[in-house]
Symmetry: C2
Subunit: 121 residues, 2 copies
């Protein structure tokens, strides 16, 4: 299982969107990442993995938290992995997942708001 | 046109997802915001508004940037407004849009990655 970050995720970097308009290409790459984050189960999976001891978790750690089947959890993990937000590594019976901190960092940086303009109502 | 932030956006706050697992409710609220960000046109609109002079822009400023009809642009602006990411205020002929910096701030904070654990491959 590859640890490479998909090109679209690796490229999804730019200055904060409050500083300069995104290009069409940047917006397409970023939208893919936000699409992966647009599901509550995937967000919880991401937070469970990111906050898990040692920064990694296997499906065995994740399935018990949800009232969902393992195939459903695996599907959501696949979407997260294909987006570049997490990486998976098989060790023995299980695949262990970790977040790609640099991808999260970039998304976080893009959303930093600019100077708050004074709102005159 | 209301300047209120929808309750789901106002509630969509939590510590960074790398620090503690999101609750189911937090994940549902956050997923709505990320869903609004999961479209390239909406991301570009958000960045055009946020980076526009004075922190606000009207449809007249936005339509010319895209090869899209005004109704399409207006639809995307409505999605952004209903999510709580932007606010709109009618002044004369035009509606002027601004971002809600506190909502962007919260999303940015949620995505801050934790300490990078050492990956032992």
């Amino acid at each position: 299982m590859s640890k490479q970050i998909p090109l679209s995720a690796a490229d999804a970097c730019c200055s904060p969107l409050a500083r300069a308009p995104l290009t069409a290409e940047q917006a397409v790459d970023l939208a893919k990442l936000f699409k992966a984050l647009s599901d509550p189960v995937r967000l919880r999976l991401l937070s469970l993995i990111a906050s898990h001891e040692g920064g990694e978790a296997c499906v065995c750690d994740l399935v018990e938290v949800f009232d969902l089947s393992q195939p459903t959890i695996s599907h959501h993990l696949k979407v997260l992995r294909e987006s570049g937000l997490i990486t998976g590594e098989r060790r023995g019976t299980w695949v262990y997942y970790r977040v790609h901190p640099e991808v999260l960092s970039r998304l976080s940086a893009v959303l930093v708001p600019g100077e708050t303009p004074v709102v005159t109502a």
